[in-house]
Structure formats: C-alpha cells, structure tokens
C-alpha cells in the first residue's frame, strides 16, 4: 500500500513539475499578436504622425492617413503633411504597391519595404503582421521590461524571404502585447529597435498608438509614430483604387 502511494505521489509530482515548467504556447501567442494588428473582418482607418529625427537636422514631420482592408489585402496610405508631399500616396492591391505623385500625376511601382518619406518606418510597419506564419521561436526566457513582466522571444525566420531573419520580441505576460522588438540582419547585427509604449483599444482589439523606431546602424536616427482617429467603420470600395488617390488631389 505504501509502495502504491509512493508511486502515485511520484506520478503527481512529475506531472506537476512538468506542468509548472511547461513551455507556453508561443505559436498561439504569435497568432494572437498577428490578430492584434490584423483586421480580417472589418476595415480600418487612422491617421499616423511620423516624426523623424536625424543628427544635425531639424526633425521632419509626416502625417499620413491609412485605410486598410485586410480581407482583400488592400491598403491606401495618403500623405497629408508636409505640404510639399501632400497628396502623395501608396496603394496596395494584392502584391502590387503603387506610389502616386500628384505633381506628375503618375503612378510608379513601389515596394512594401520602402521607407516612408525617408524615415525609419517602412510601409510594411503600418500594415498587417504575419509573425506566426514567417517565424518560429528559437529561444525564450522570462524577464521584465519596466514594470511589466514579459516573455523575451527570439524568433528565427522560417524562410529566406522575410525582411529580418531574426527578431527578438518582448511580450507582456498577461496579454499578447509586444512592448519592444529588435530586428537583426542575416549577419546577426542589430539593425532596428522598436518600442511600443502605448496601446489603445480599437473595436475589440488593442493597437499600439505610439511606436518608436530606433535605427541601430545610424546612431541618433529615430522615428516616432503616433496613431489617432482610429476606426473600424466600413470604408467604401472606391477608397482602394487609383482613382481615389487622383480624386483626393483634385
């Protein structure tokens, strides 16, 4: 009897140890983070203000209105400021991204990896995420960032077509919110650090309302992005067309 009790005790001990030390489901966590930035069932629009700082130069301010329809992979980014670039816009339809210049009234083929208005922000930073699809967790640990207990995940790209082959994420333990990200080159050099100090609720999702991009290759260069007027109200189909970009300039 004692022997049976001992075996039962050991069984529960092993079970509880394994349960205590179990790896959290990081894939599910990444899926949740992707969902945070993705609007598969609603449209999304907001105004981004991008303040870019470079050593020895006056900060440049760019304001852009973003319209997104993730279910059909469409987005429009319309530049509102500065006045010299007012009316310029990016339009994504499927895999094609077009840049519109109101001065020449012409569309040119662009890329999602191009930086917005010479800042450290890329068009893709303001678009949907696909962390779960593109990355796998290579390493993880528990730590804290400021007053938040966080998981520190080291992600490695699953294929060689992802912009950053390695990414480190600091994710809040209590909810799937990224507080900080470090992006590394193929040669394992830190290229960019992104901070997400503020989130706001839009519909039933939390979105970063403030982001700080620090260029680690060019000391002193950083870009702060703030979001306002966020909405998940339906947008007319006509917004995701070349005609829209042309019309708003008339």
């Amino acid at each position: 009897m004692q022997k049976r009790l001992l075996i039962l005790f050991l069984f529960f001990l092993i079970l509880s140890i394994s349960a205590f030390g179990a790896t959290p489901d990081f894939h599910a966590m990444l899926v949740e983070i992707d969902k945070t930035g993705n609007f598969d069932t609603t449209d999304f629009s907001c105004v981004y203000t991008i303040v870019s700082e470079k050593p020895g130069e006056e900060p440049s301010v760019t304001q852009a209105r973003m319209f997104r329809r993730d279910k059909t992979d469409q987005f429009v980014l319309l530049i509102l400021k500065p006045d010299t670039q007012k009316g310029q816009g990016y339009l994504q339809v499927d895999d094609n991204v077009w840049f519109y210049d109101p001065e020449s009234r012409k569309f040119t083929y662009s890329s999602l990896k191009e930086n917005i208005q010479n800042s450290d922000t890329k068009n893709s930073d303001l678009n949907r995420n696909s962390l779960a699809e593109d990355y796998e967790v290579a390493n993880w640990s528990e730590t804290s960032l400021g007053s938040f207990p966080v998981y520190l995940l080291e992600l490695e790209a699953k294929h060689n077509e992802v912009s950053y082959p390695k990414v480190k994420l600091w994710i809040r333990k209590d909810r799937p919110m990224v507080l900080k990200a470090e992006e590394y080159s193929l040669s394992d050099r830190l290229m960019r650090t992104v901070y997400y100090p503020k989130y706001i609720q839009v519909g039933d999702q939390y979105l970063p309302s403030q982001m700080l991009f620090v260029d680690n290759l060019k000391p002193g260069e950083k870009t702060q992005v703030t979001m306002r007027d966020a909405s998940v109200a339906p947008l007319p189909d006509s917004v995701f067309t070349k005609t829209f970009l042309e019309r708003v300039n008339n």
């Binding site: 050593p55 060689n160 077509e161 992802v162 080159s185 193929l186 290229m191 290759l217 060019k218």
Partner: protein, 436 residues
C-alpha cells in the same frame, strides 16, 4: 572650258570677296564635319568604355522565380554556359563573373546609396587597367572586405583609405543584411557613371547577397571583335535555346529593344528553375544609338540653317557682281555670247566658290580633328566615357561627307541662280548703256 576659265578668273579678280564667301562656306562645313565625326566615333567609344565598366559585350544572367513571386538573380551552374562558348568556338578574349547589389553605405552618420559590383580581381586583370587610382592600391583588396569607391562618393562619405564603413542591403532573396567594407582605394570620378562605380571582392559580395561562393549574377563575355556582338549573340542564343530555359529576345510593341523585352518578361512570366536572359552591349546602348542619330540630324539641320544664312550672302554678292559687271555682260552679249552662257558663267562661279569652300572646310575639319585627337584629355576627364583611352576620336562616313558637299553645292547654286538668271536676261544694248 572657256567658261570655266572665265569663272575661275572672275573669282580670282575679287580675291577678298571670294575669300570671305568661300571662308563662310568652309567654316559651316567644318563645323558640321566635326559634329559628324564626333557622332561617328561616339557610339564606338561609349560602347568600348561601357564594355569595360560592365565587363563584357554579351551577358548572361540566371533568373529564378520563387513560389512567392520574388525573382532571384544567380547563376548556380555555369558549366553549360562555358561549354556553349567552347562548342561554338566564340572568339572571346576574356570572360567575367560578377555579382552586384544596390545598398546603403554608412560611415559616421553619413549614408549614401550606391551600386556595388563584386569582381574577381584575380581573373579580371584587364579591369584593373581601366581604373585610375587616386589613392590607395589594389593590394589593399587582398583584404576580403576591401572596396574601391569613386572620388565623389568617398568625399561625400568623408572616408579615407583604411576606414571601415557599414553597408546595408537586401540579400538575393530579400532579407536585410549588414556588412562591413574597408576602403581599399579611391578611383578618379568617372563622371556620369559615378553611381555605378564601387567595386569589391566577388566572394564578399556573394556572402552579403547570401549566394554560394561559386555562384554569381552575371556572366560577361568579351569578344575579340566588338563589331561581332550581334552575330555571336544570335549564335549563342540559338545554341542555348535547346539546352536551357531562355527569355525571348523578340521585341514587341511596348519594347523597342531585346533588353527591355526581357525585363518585361522577367516581371510577367512564371517558370520553374533557372531561366537565363541573354543580352548585349548593343541592347543596352540602343538608347545611346538614338542619341547619335539625333546628333546627326541636329548637325544636318545646323548645316541647312547655316547655309540659308550663307545663301542670303551669296545671293546678295552675286546681285552686286551682276551690277558691277553689267557693262562687261553687255559687251559679251554684243560679241555673241548667248543668254545660257551668261547664266552658266555665274553658276560656274558659284559652283567653284562652293567647291573650293567645301574642300577648304573639309581640310580645316581634318586639321582640327588631327589636333584634337593628339590631345590627351586624361583618363580622369569628365568626358572619358566619350573618349578612346583618353583621346578624342572622329569617324566619318564617305556618304555623310558626300551628302554634306552635295547640300553645300546645291544651296550655293540655288542662291546664285536668280542673280545669274537676271544677268542672262539683260539686253546687250541696255547693259552697255547702263552707268554704275
């Protein structure tokens, strides 16, 4: 014969006037001949200089299309391409293997976008001879991360020999990568082409692009005779057509040359494995060939405008000549000279004036060309791409020269025709009565 003698004598009688009119004609033709001569050698010199910058006359790129739609440029296995050169016995002097990318060079807060070409310095010895070093040495390239920058780029980045700088780029498959270069040498700024003039070791460029050491992007073939480019490109294309996947060189409505056609196909087509694109220096320079045509047309228009001005002078001069010789014409007519002969006399004068002026113009153009072609403008000249080894060269076609002379003769005769006609119409008695 008598009319010819008289015409020549008349020209000789008014030496100053003949010299000025003939000089104007000569000057016009000299300018036009110089322009034609420069345009004639323009394409040849640009082509030769470009071939050295691009390391070849005929080029082959390997292109893969990934399932995501991204295109990757690399030649993974060159054997079949090298075999093709041997089987066809293509007379080549060198072949080059190059990889390149467009990246951002970063040094102490300064950054600049630059095309960087990976070169195998051991094999491409001919290329060293084309680069004029201002500072540093080729020996510094023994360091794998050595780079050669143009003077302008080095100045803008504020780098000196031995300085290490960062480079940010996308790999062949689009991943972000960062590397380090050490400034090995600074070359004399090649003017317009400064932005394509940074050179590094092929092995390191491949590493940055995440290509294997034996892979590269472009195979360049240097033919022994540059005029055979189209012939051998066609032969090579037909040979490779059965052995590998090749992009068509056929041009459509949208594309005017094979290079543009291939670029469009790369974007639009879907394929598996490696597909090769074969293009030539002539395809790339077709835009420049258009510039030469424009230059030739412009010089022709210039010739015509110049001669319209000269024609007005010739017409006025011959009108004056007619009034000056009115008594002489009256005497000759009274002695039995026919109207046609008077007209011929004037026209012969104009003809010899134009011919003499044209020959003098050609001679002057030849002398100027000879002088200009003897001047060494330097390989660091901003116009080096238009020169041949630092010297200006000129090439004239016989047809072009003949056409110019015919235009000069025709226009001068046309200018003299109406005064000649008026002179022929003069009645002998009226002419003899006229007092100047």
């Amino acid at each position: 014969m008598r009319d010819i003698k008289m015409a020549l004598r008349n020209l000789n009688r008014q030496k100053k006037r003949t010299f000025l009119l003939g000089g104007a004609i000569a000057f016009g033709l000299m300018i036009v001949t110089l322009l034609n001569g420069f345009a004639g050698s323009f394409i040849e010199n640009v082509g030769e200089n470009f071939s050295h910058l691009m390391a070849g006359h005929i080029f082959l790129d390997g292109v893969e299309k990934l399932p995501s739609g991204r295109t990757v440029y690399r030649i993974q296995d060159e054997k079949i391409l090298i075999q093709a050169l041997e089987d066809l016995q293509i007379p080549y002097s060198d072949i080059s293997a190059r990889s390149e990318f467009s990246g951002t060079l970063i040094f102490e807060g300064e950054s600049i976008r630059q095309n960087i070409t990976g070169t195998d310095w051991q094999k491409e010895t001919f290329f060293r001879e084309r680069l004029i070093l201002k500072e540093g040495s080729f020996e510094n390239l023994s360091e794998p991360q050595g780079i050669i920058l143009s003077e302008d780029i080095a100045r803008r980045l504020n780098v000196e020999i031995g300085d290490r700088m960062l480079v940010q780029l996308s790999t062949a498959t689009g991943q972000q990568n960062v590397g380090e270069f050490s400034l090995a040498a600074i070359i004399v700024d090649p003017g317009l082409f400064g932005s394509i003039s940074a050179y590094a070791n092929l092995a390191y460029v491949n590493e940055l692009l995440n290509l294997k050491p034996d892979e590269y992007v472009t195979l360049g073939i240097f033919l022994q005779d540059m005029s055979q480019i189209d012939f051998w490109a066609e032969k090579l294309y037909l040979y490779l057509q059965d052995k590998v996947q090749l992009f068509s060189r056929e041009t459509g409505k949208e594309e005017e040359n094979p290079f543009a056609a291939i670029l469009n196909q790369t974007k639009e087509e879907e394929w598996q494995g490696t597909k090769y694109r074969l293009y030539t220096l002539n395809d790339i320079l077709s835009e420049i060939q258009e510039v030469v045509q424009v230059l030739n047309v412009a010089s022709l228009i210039f010739l015509i405008i110049l001669f319209i001005v000269i024609m007005v002078g010739v017409t006025n001069t011959f009108r004056m000549v007619m009034f000056e010789r009115i008594k002489e014409i009256g005497t000759m007519r009274a002695l039995g000279m026919q109207r046609g002969e008077v007209k011929s006399l004037f026209l012969l004068e104009a003809f010899f004036l134009a011919l003499g002026g044209a020959l003098a113009g050609l001679l002057a153009a030849g002398v100027v060309m000879l002088i200009l072609s003897q001047i060494f403008w330097g390989l660091d000249s901003p116009i080096f791409i238009l020169l041949k080894n630092g010297y200006m060269t000129f090439r004239l076609s016989f047809f072009q020269v003949l056409l110019n002379i015919v235009i000069v003769l025709f226009m001068t005769l046309l200018a003299a025709y109406f005064p000649a006609k008026n002179a022929a119409k003069l009645e002998p008695a009226v002419a003899l009565r006229t007092t100047n």
